[in-house]
Amino acid sequence: METNAVIPVLSIQNVGKAYGENWVLSDVSIDIMPGEIHAICGENGAGKSTLMNILFGMSVISDTGGYAGKIFINGEECRIASPDQAIAKGIGMVHQEFMLIPGFSASENIKLNREPLNANIVSRFLGRKLKTVDFAKINSNSKESLDKLGICMDETQMVDTLPVGYMQFVEIAREIDKENMKVLILDEPTAVLTESEAEIVLKVVKRLSSIGISVLLITHRINDIMEIADKVTILRDGRNVKTMPVSETSPGEIAQLMVGRELDLNTIQKRIVPIGEEVAMSLRNFIVHMPGEMVRGIDLDVRRGEILGIGGLAGQGKVGIANGIMGIFPTEGEAIVFGKPLKLNSSKASMNAKLAFVSEDRRRMGFAPDLSIALNIAAPAMFNYNQFFRRILFFEQIDEKGIDAVARQYIEEFQIKCTGPQQPVGTLSGGNQQKVCIASVLMLRPDILLVSEPTRGIDVGAKNMVLNTITKINRELGVTVIFTSSELAELRQVCDRIAIIADGQISDILPADADSEVIGVAMSGKRR
């Protein structure tokens, strides 16, 4: 063990990755020592998942031209081209979405494809594939692995009947059951867990390090890092901002480093329409049953003409609010829009109340991929205001020229990179797709605009464009905006107030210039 202590078990040197022209990760170097818990944190789009995909040899990396830089395992250079190779080299990974087979027991999942086998008569003639699976041994082996983790559970239970936290344990047990496991990558292991479950997971991670397995912990949660990590690396915009021992830092410093630079947003204009005293929207005991983003009863007032930010960690419910208001997920409680009660669970009613929504789920809800830019921009207005139709004799026909003109105008204004208004939106880049989404929503001339994660996965240029547009319609037209984002920098830049959501409830409402540390504390769910 003494000699190993000098050679890092996993050493990443100057690793970078570009998708096309866009460098999502560049020049990242990290050393991980045996038994070390090394946290990697950063905002969405900072390059965490890309780094993880490189380490685990996921096909998205090799399909798009591989990666730059070098990776050493136990001092030996190697290129990891597939998950199989990663496993063979002793790298294990627990994904954020569980990869378990629901109808199998915990132990069967743990030993999946590595089942202990017994020879039988048939297999003697027809080969190894027909050997009998030794179920007793599966259970006893699994029990050992679970014991190693210090978890007491029935290994024969079906995984789909287990609580979420225990599914996580089964995943971890499966990884450490592999004999040469050296480094375990955990992707947001506590994101979907309750506090008590999260605590046990953290304990398990500590135990792993005590038996000599290094852990690469990818997380948003600063508290988790402070609690268990030895070292922390902060990524921002694909670069390694800083690696430091956790003992020498504070949650405030980590948060600040994560958020980092302010966006070089064009100077925000002065308000033409001032924020009114009037309440644009008020929510009372608002509950949204959105899987993974439950909103558990909030009271919130949004004033006319303000930009209200909604922040918080992933899975805490911040995204659920806008989805509930728009009638996309089942909702309970009360919502009042400009004095009138809003009929819940009806998208039509929300549209009629002049609400408009840019969804966080751009792929699924943002646009019709095979239809043209022009049609995508016009469709919402066509549905709701009968705009863009002309009468020819008895037939109401689509006004192709009108749509084309509007599309050209937005293509110009938003600098949408395309071959023309007829190009299908699905073939545009993410940033340009988002511009189309925003254009289509603007066509609705909403009183209240809800935007969720508008800059997720888009490049800096498009980001500025999108944020500028949102502030512009707020400043010039007085449109009330509810702005949901996981990026603190963005919220600070754009919003007047920021409501922080933790565990489905509002933990605090802060001014946009509040201290990072105060926001960090609110995100962890502690109330002032």
Binding site: M326, I328, S347, K348, A349, S350, M351, N352, F357, S359, R364, M365, G366, F367, A368, P369, D370, L371, L375, A379, P380, M382, F383, N384, N386, F389, F395, E396, Q397, I398
Partner: protein, 347 residues
């Protein structure tokens, strides 16, 4: 030059292959000394008589339900409408127009029910449609067997009750559309009325696709969640598309029968859906994009191919049913090919 190349690419390889193949067959026919004028006349009639059935595929694809595998449901509605018009002894124009009208009414009503069912099985419409289509055909076999028709043209000549397997329309309204304003150029008969009616239908459907409902259907078909977010009633839109498809299938078989000369009952509708499917796919439609021109080009190509290939192959392989086998292989092969293309453009 680039422009030409792009145009060719847009037109698509499958169509170019089929056109080349048709040319080969036509040259073969000429060498065999076939009656070319008759061959071309036949082809034109077949194109006209099949086009509405292919058109029926369009609304279903538009709303994202894929190919209407249950077209047979619409077809039996059309059969019922046609038989009723014969039962009432309606001749010539009044007969065909009544048959068309009833077909549209029955087709729409039944189509709404069919649409409701397909809304319950979103994502597997083609599979369920296929089973349901066959089930309805067999269910209707029982109905034909016991149906209380009394017109001797419809019922079995001896025995008294039950519908015949083929009911001739020759005494009522055979080729009413085909003969209307028909004329001859160099021995080739142009079925003007048939084409006028068929293209009128295509034009009406074209207008529909450009109307608010049509746009709604298109958006729903492409991304239902997106449409729903903007307050569109997705299930209603799908219902409209599927009902329209069924109604057109129903109308299609009436037009088909007046040209063909018979209503084919019992198991007749079972395989009727395949050629229209092949036609629209061959025309260039995919599960994600469909236009009227796909219907027209596709029907022209496949019907010309099938009509000309039959006599030519008959001559090549006399006294065998190889030609029929050949026909089936081609039409089903094209469906397979086009379906694989429809799913294979993701990358």
């Amino acid at each position: 030059m680039d422009n030409i190349r792009r145009k060719i690419r847009e037109f698509g390889m499958p169509r170019i292959i089929i056109i080349a193949f048709i040319f080969v067959i036509l040259i073969g026919a000429m060498l065999e000394g076939q009656d070319m004028a008759a061959l071309i006349s036949d082809s034109l009639v077949r194109v006209g008589q099949n086009m509405i059935l292919a058109l029926a595929m369009l609304p279903a694809i538009l709303v994202g339900a894929g190919l209407n595998m249950g077209l047979a449901i619409g077809i039996v509605c059309g059969l019922l409408a046609g038989l009723l018009s014969i039962q009432w002894g309606l001749m010539s124009w009044s007969g065909i127009l009544m048959a068309c009208l009833l077909a549209l009414v029955f087709g729409s009503i039944v189509g709404v029910g069919y649409g409701k069912l397909l809304n319950l099985v979103r994502g597997s419409e083609m599979l369920i449609g296929n089973y349901l289509g066959s089930s309805v055909v067999y269910l209707m076999c029982m109905f034909w067997f016991a149906a209380p028709f009394t017109n001797p043209t419809i019922i079995w000549p001896m025995g008294g009750t039950g519908v015949r397997t083929t009911v001739p329309v020759s005494e009522y309204y055979e080729k009413v559309f085909n003969r209307f304003l028909a004329f001859k150029i160099g021995g080739v008969t142009i079925p003007t009325g048939l084409f006028l009616f068929v293209f009128l239908m295509c034009f009406l459907v074209y207008l529909f696709t450009k109307s608010k409902s049509g746009i709604t259907l298109r958006v729903v078909g492409n991304n239902p969640s997106y449409a729903a977010m903007f307050g569109v009633n997705v299930n209603r839109a799908r219902l409209i598309g599927i009902a329209l498809s069924t109604a057109l299938g129903s109308l299609g078989i009436v037009v088909y029968a007046q040209s063909y000369g018979f209503y084919q009952t019992y198991e007749g509708p079972l395989t009727m859906a395949f050629t229209p499917m092949a036609a629209i796919l061959l025309g260039g439609a995919t599960m994600r994009s469909v236009k009227i021109r796909h219907v027209i080009i596709g029907t022209f190509l496949i019907q010309t191919l099938l009509t000309t290939a039959l006599p030519v192959s008959n001559q090549l392989f006399p006294e065998s049913n190889l030609s029929e086998v050949f026909r089936i292989i081609i039409s089903n092969g094209i469906i397979l090919y086009a379906l694989s293309q429809a799913g294979g453009n993701e990358k």
